[in-house]
Symmetry: C2
Subunit: 202 residues, 2 copies
């Protein structure tokens, strides 16, 4: 087979693929605020939510994030988002991971307080994207009522995108979601004795 | 069981967990630039890389991104990163997905050009994090030499973090990586007729 023939075959194959792709895109006409879930044991659940915040900011939107669990951590992303001024609204109400506090009643109160803040942000029409970071952990420990949380998420404004992160997403939440990604851990550097490093993990 | 007893049991359980966690953290002492791979069919591969860029920027680092495939797209993240001035160095050398160009020779030339740019950025000591977006696609189509690419990545400066994104990561790259996350698609809104929307997908 000559080079010219191979190039022709490639062009033909890719033209067919483009036609299929274009037809698929044309069929999708619905625009709506999405309920997005990032779950699974791998890295990238919160990090991909940060990426969505960046993309939304690039489109001129206002965004908000409520951290349900990681409150005790001083994270690099908070410094970075300061560059966007009041277009990012950040709410840290958790008090660290549950094995840091060792006080269940305090954890439950912190989660309820965080959820009330989330409800207030859902009612704010200037917010187009809301990240509920580690909400899945609060739901897994039954620190919040699952049916009430899912019901409120489903009844949100039609143009509001919500991202829920954390391992072990509840089936009822997955059922209600538009987009669910499971981050799987194929390989992890912690297993090789590498520590959590500034700029990468926090 | 009284409430007090339950709270005590919880406290004891969490204290044990904290001890295990603290001991694990203490064992991890290595600091190094990581080779990170985001692969799999699900959403979030590029988005999580954007999140890592944000976190790194929050620590005062300079970061760079080379886009191997998505060049034709005008993406929200580029607008957003403009807020960080010359601390973000963005290189778009791909000419759209391969079914957009239908010209294999041009695609190969674009990928080689992008890889040369990546090599130059790896040699720049001011860059602490380098994202090679959709490099896996270029490797999958054999538009770049896999062994040469992996060899160069392995020989990088010890403090440089590199993130490679794209489906179908080659086993040789996974073998060389420190951290590999597989994004799995549990549920996708495109299947329900929802289109790719500004601020979320691009």
């Amino acid at each position: 087979m000559t080079d010219a023939t191979e190039a022709d075959r490639h062009r033909e194959k890719m033209a067919k693929r483009k036609a299929v792709q274009d037809a698929e895109v044309a069929q999708k006409t619905v625009e709506k605020g999405l309920l997005i879930v990032h779950t699974g044991p791998g890295k990238g659940k919160t990090t991909a939510a940060l990426g969505l915040m960046v993309r939304a900011l690039g489109r001129g939107w206002r965004v908000a994030c409520v951290q349900f669990i990681k409150g005790g951590w001083d994270t690099g992303e908070r410094h970075a988002f300061a560059a966007f001024g009041d277009r990012v609204s950040w709410h840290t109400l958790g008090e660290g991971f549950t094995w840091e506090t060792q006080d269940k009643a305090r954890d439950i109160a912190a989660c309820r307080h965080a959820w009330e803040r989330a409800e207030a942000l859902m009612a704010d029409p200037t917010v187009r994207l809301l990240v509920l970071d580690e909400l899945n952990i609060a739901l897994r420990y039954d620190y919040l009522d699952l049916a009430a949380v899912v019901g409120t998420l489903q009844a949100r404004r039609p143009d509001l995108h919500v991202v829920v992160t954390g391992r072990n997403a509840k089936p009822m939440l997955i059922e209600a979601a538009d987009l669910v990604t499971e981050m799987g851990s194929v390989k992890h550097h912690f297993a090789a004795g590498v520590k959590a490093q500034e700029g990468i993990e926090f």
